[in-house]
């Protein structure tokens, strides 16, 4: 317990202490600075986009890994963990190079990917993928075949069975996966700084603003922005948990 308080609680409480040393006016001014506001939108928007992309493709990948057999399946299954294992900075430089205008993938596109919000979304998609796959996979694995068979024997075609019977069973896991990926993406720094380009007002994420303020020894300002991030992600997680709780309450036997 002591260890816990020393490593986690004490440091985190510093945020509160430091914020309190600020006047309300100062605090408000810092957190509503246009650059900061632009960064909130960017961080939130790109985390949301990446989360949604991952929910769709992560579910497809989980489905394919559980339901089908194909050569190389084990390797693909292992690779899904890559974002957990690969240092974010390494992922960052690799993705940046790959999606840069002259990169292997970037050169196939007429528009820029690296150094734009799109690049940020790509980095966050990379980071978030395993969260969705790894939460949906076990649920799909344990899903009884009987309900699918019941649906088929009642005359539903495969698509109807999927949409009306299987998908609703997966929603809770999909939401959990989304919320994990989303909250990780909100605070993600390492993989994003390289690909973002970091142009104020355009491709500057919130953690970077904190970083910049720190480099200017503006600790108070950095703390203020940190408070916004913490409160923001707390509210979002609370909201997601609420949805999930409501969904779970109804049908658990």
């Amino acid at each position: 317990m002591l260890y816990l308080s020393f490593i986690v609680i004490l440091p985190l409480s510093m945020i509160v202490v430091n914020t309190l040393s600020m006047s309300w006016g100062e605090f408000f001014e810092t957190i509503t600075h246009p650059r900061a506001v632009a960064s909130y939108k960017l961080s939130f928007g790109s985390a949301l986009a990446a989360g949604l992309i991952n929910v769709i493709f992560g579910t497809i990948i989980a489905w394919v890994l559980i339901r089908y057999d194909f050569p190389g399946k084990k390797i693909i299954d292992g690779l899904v963990d890559l974002p957990f294992a690969l240092p974010t900075a390494v992922a960052g430089i690799a993705l940046t190079t790959l999606y840069a205008p002259s990169g292997w993938i970037g050169k196939f596109f007429d528009f820029k990917i690296s150094y734009t919000p799109l690049g940020i979304v790509i980095a966050l998609t990379f980071i978030g993928l395993p969260f969705v796959v790894r939460t949906v996979q076990p649920v799909l694995q344990n899903l009884g075949r009987e309900v699918e068979e019941a649906s088929a024997s009642l005359g539903a075609n495969r698509f109807q069975t999927f949409v009306k019977v299987i998908l609703p069973e997966l929603y809770p896991a999909m939401i959990t996966g989304f919320s994990l990926a989303f909250s990780r993406s909100l605070g993600e720094y390492g993989s994003v700084v390289f690909i973002a380009g970091n142009m104020p007002m355009k491709t500057e994420i919130t953690p970077l603003i904190i970083m910049t303020k720190l480099e200017q020894y503006d600790y108070v300002g950095a703390t203020a922005i940190a408070v916004v991030m913490l409160v923001g992600s707390f509210i979002i997680l609370l909201f997601i948990n609420l949805i999930q709780w409501r969904m779970n309450r109804k049908f658990n036997y």
């Binding site: 497809i60 693909i76 240092p87 390289f194 600790y219």
Partner: protein
């Protein structure tokens, strides 16, 4: 009397028909489209980046590659990273086991709070994780003056890096063990204690063997993150070359100085570690399932 099993019903039609007309599976087209989509997605986001790291690292040949790695700054970064991992991983392992043990084998007030607190670092941006240690131990921080007087350096030095890494890797082991120990319950421990074994003996002979694969799994993830942590460490390290640069920070500096080959060379080493991590993780989870 009737010969019972001789119920003779040889019907004239014997049709050989291997049938499987059943719409419990998707059509082949759907199946292969989904597989293709998955493979494409994984190639684009996971495989190509991984390959590109090695290709870029070796672009200028082996000699440059080796030179980038044996460069004194690179070696110092590798050494620092290993040091950090060697300190952080055991500490968090001990804590993780203790916390999981506490949470699953005992009931006490504030248990839910403890569970939440353990998970907290996952919900906090690594940059903020770094920030809070600056606020504590930085020059203007809470303990700043006291530390200065006693000439102790925490921030922008090894202790700061270790603390920040501890924070971000804090939940890995406990999180892995809690569900595992929950399903195992306490009956085995009770049996052991009822047979006269002491608490410690019970732990080493009963609890530990039961959780060893889960523990390994948690450790390996903890280790990967400890080695690769960037945001939090970046805040507290101070970026002093050859002194407080971990491998990821070293990569950043090289990259920002346009020494791409060198950056990717160091990155390739970290990628190999990542691949090893995945392999060990899968073996551990596969073994864990066997029990």
């Amino acid at each position: 009397m009737t010969k019972p099993l001789d119920v003779d019903r040889k019907m004239p039609i014997v049709k050989k028909a291997v049938s499987n007309p059943y719409p419990l599976k998707e059509s082949a087209i759907v199946k292969w489209s989904l597989i293709t989509i998955s493979l494409l997605y994984i190639s684009l986001f996971l495989i190509l980046p991984l390959i590109s790291i090695f290709v870029t690292a070796l672009e200028k040949g082996w000699e440059t590659y080796v030179a980038s790695i044996v460069h004194p700054d690179a070696l110092a970064a590798i050494k620092l990273t290993i040091t950090v991992a060697l300190i952080v991983v055991p500490l968090n392992a001990v804590f993780g086991i203790a916390a999981a043990w506490l949470i699953t084998k005992f009931t006490f007030r504030g248990k839910n709070l403890l569970v939440t607190l353990i998970d907290l670092p996952f919900a906090v941006s690594p940059v903020i994780a770094g920030l809070i240690f600056i606020l504590l131990f930085g020059a203007q921080g809470l303990f700043g003056d006291w530390l200065f007087e006693h000439d102790i350096k925490i921030v922008f030095a090894l202790p700061g890096i270790i603390l920040a890494t501890l924070f971000v890797t804090f939940p890995f082991v406990a999180r892995e063990l809690i569900p595992l120990m929950q399903t195992q319950g306490i009956t085995e421990e009770e049996a052991s204690i009822s047979l006269g074994a002491s608490g410690w003996k019970t732990f080493f002979y009963v609890t530990l063997p039961n959780i060893k694969w889960g523990l390994l799994y948690g450790l390996i993830l903890c280790n990967a993150r400890a080695i690769g942590e960037f945001g939090a460490v970046s805040v507290v390290s101070g970026h002093i070359r050859g002194e407080t640069n971990t491998m990821p920070l070293h990569i950043e500096i090289l990259y920002n100085e346009y020494q791409f080959t060198a950056a990717f060379a160091v990155a390739s080493i970290m990628s190999i570690l990542a691949i090893l991590t995945i392999i060990i993780k899968h073996i551990a989870s596969w073994k864990a399932k066997e029990f």
